[in-house]
């Protein structure tokens, strides 16, 4: 309960911060629509030439795009700003104050910064997803919707864990800002179903940077291309990743040397 209150308190602070910069909302919306528009144009160009991509139809790839935009919005809204602040704290010595708070340090590091206006990406992605999966006579069953929500959550937990593991290396190397660009670069590959890539890349995008589980699998749930068993397997993998991230984080905390006074 205290955890929920702390999360809500930081959400409130983030809202107070962002509400001071209203222009950001308009700019963010424009940016989201531009990015989406570009993606839709590319999709249309591809499907002008082919009727499917390695077994994926136009609506199914549109669903992948919707999940990609939603997940990207969540990353930009929650994960990336907190990871960036954590890395800045390590460099500048302000991480000390995080450790003196009576809140789990990993939780605190993960919720201190929200970029509220990035929620526009989540909304835009949700709209695209709804358009992709709802056709006359083909409504989404409640069980499918719940399985989708579960697989989306599992995918999000995996991506968060990968981001955290890489950011934790800051305890050893201090300057690791490049991981943000690296992960954002990889993330662009998730715009397309992982199945269309060659084997070596497919495996990398499944087990190293688990975009397959984060984006493709939730889209597959909604387009009836995957079963509940597959989602259960993804959940098991997520548990391992989350545990690994937690263990590594605690190792990093013990290693923490603080900055000069």
């Amino acid at each position: 309960m205290h955890v929920v209150r702390v999360v809500l308190a930081f959400l409130r602070v983030a809202a107070l911060n962002e509400l001071q910069y209203r222009a950001n909302f308009v700019l963010q919306l424009i940016q989201s629509l531009l990015a989406l528009g570009t993606g839709l144009v590319i999709l249309a160009l591809v499907f002008d030439q082919v009727t499917d991509l390695n077994g994926w139809t136009h609506p199914q790839i549109l669903a992948v795009m919707g999940v990609h935009v939603m997940m990207g919005g969540l990353i930009q809204m929650v994960i990336q700003p907190n990871i960036l602040q954590f890395m800045a704290d390590i460099e500048e010595g302000t991480f000390d104050y995080v450790l003196t708070r009576p809140v789990d340090a990993q939780l605190l590091v993960s919720i201190r910064s929200f970029r509220i206006w990035q929620a526009t990406d989540v909304l835009v992605g949700a709209v695209v997803l709804i358009i992709a999966v709802t056709r006359p006579g083909h409504a989404v069953e409640p069980a499918t919707a719940m399985l989708f929500a579960a697989s989306f959550l599992v995918g999000w937990a995996m991506l968060y864990s990968v981001w955290l593991i890489l950011a934790t290396t800051a305890f050893w190397f201090v300057h690791v800002d490049q991981i943000v660009d690296l992960l954002n670069g990889f993330y662009q590959a998730g715009r397309w179903p992982v199945g269309i890539y060659p084997g070596w890349l497919r495996h990398g995008l499944t087990f190293l940077v688990p975009l397959a589980y984060a984006i493709t699998v939730p889209a597959e749930v909604l387009t009836s291309k995957v079963s509940a068993g597959a989602v259960a397997g993804a959940a098991a993998f997520a548990v391992v990743l989350v545990a690994l991230a937690r263990w590594f984080w605690r190792a990093g905390l013990r290693r923490y040397a603080s900055a000069s006074s």
Binding site: A9, N17, G93, Y97, R101, P102, A105, R254, S261
Partner: protein, 337 residues
């Protein structure tokens, strides 16, 4: 009664990367990184009773902040036993963190872009402070630190002095029993320094909080601390009250005398300064009464004062003495700030 802080044979070493200057060395370091073991704290043992205000002094790099950070749970000790209020700080238990506060001079913990009052509310949630207690403590701290006009301002619009007062208030909202102050008056003007000292003394008087304070400003130490711990090169070289420190390390007095006519007073002691008729002499403590009597007897004295050596000189001598603390000669003109 159990001491609030107990440290037994604390050691802390760091592995620090180092390389030669230059691009070639930087490139080589990409493939072969050299590190050096730095011992920041060696065999430090101390006990601080509940309610004490203790000054923790030492030159830059002596190990003060490292010790403070070990005590506040930021750093794991390399070896030794550390207990604060019965807790092991490195475990960072919630109950422990709710009982301590760390205030570092010129470091910011408040939310930068929102009003001070909103930062206080966030603090209330994090520390689970009941509303009634929160309002009472907030009102007390706002009154003591004169923050009424600042509560609605974003932190980034405050001056350094205003921000430090707000930081101090935020740190005390949860009524910590142990306060770690790491150079809390750093960068503040003399008026603000005085206000901060008065506040800390009053807070200690009202709430009996145990305070461990590091500072390079001797006025902080002399005003607030009866007891000082001097640390140098990672080792404690003195632990006791200021008068004893002065007696042990700086066994001399300074005699300021204004004469009716110029005279050579070098036979009485070491001349520290001579401005025509105003002369400063340094004499051993034991001989100060005799020297004073002879000056009054043999010379037309218009004014005479006998003073203990400035605290800055005493501390500097303690630093130079180091952990083994033999007697040393008094310092020259360069002084500790």
């Amino acid at each position: 009664m159990e001491p609030a802080i107990r440290v037994a044979r604390l050691c802390k070493t760091f592995s620090v990367p180092e390389r030669d200057p230059g691009v070639r060395a930087a490139l080589a370091a990409l493939f072969h990184r050299k590190t050096r073991e730095v011992t920041a704290v060696v065999d430090v043992s101390l006990e601080i009773a509940s309610g004490e205000i203790v000054g923790f002094l030492g030159p830059n790099g002596a190990g003060k902040t490292t010790t403070l950070k070990v005590l506040s749970g930021l750093l794991h000790p390399t070896s030794g036993d550390v207990r604060v209020l019965g807790h092991v700080p490195a475990m960072r238990e919630t109950a422990y963190l709710c009982e301590i506060a760390l205030v570092m001079g010129n470091r910011n913990q408040l939310q930068w872009d929102i009003p001070v009052a909103d930062s206080f509310l966030l603090h209330r949630t994090i520390y689970r402070i009941p509303w009634a207690d929160f309002r009472r403590r907030r009102d007390e701290l706002v009154a003591l630190l004169e923050l009424e006009d600042l509560l609605r301002k974003p932190v980034r619009n405050l001056s350094l002095g205003e921000r430090m007062r707000a930081e101090l208030a935020a740190s005390l909202l949860h009524a910590p029993r142990v306060l770690f102050f790491d150079e809390p008056t750093l960068g503040l003007d003399v008026v603000m320094q005085k206000r901060m000292r008065e506040f800390v003394a009053e807070y200690n008087r009202r709430h009996g909080a145990t305070i461990l304070l590091t500072s390079h400003y001797m006025a902080d130490v002399s005003t607030l601390c009866r007891r000082v711990i001097v640390i140098h090169r990672g080792r404690i070289c003195f632990d006791g009250d200021l008068e004893t420190l002065s007696d042990e390390v700086a066994a001399y007095k300074e005699i300021w005398v204004t004469l009716g006519e110029p005279a050579d007073l070098s036979m009485y002691g070491e001349i520290r300064s001579c401005d025509g008729v105003r002369i400063a002499l340094r004499v051993p403590k034991a001989s100060a009464p005799g020297v004073t009597a002879r000056l009054l007897q043999n010379h037309p004295v218009l004014d005479l004062t006998v003073e203990d050596p400035p605290l800055e000189d005493v501390i500097e001598m303690a630093f130079r003495a180091g952990p083994s603390a033999p007697d040393v000669a008094p310092p020259s003109e360069d002084r500790v700030r």
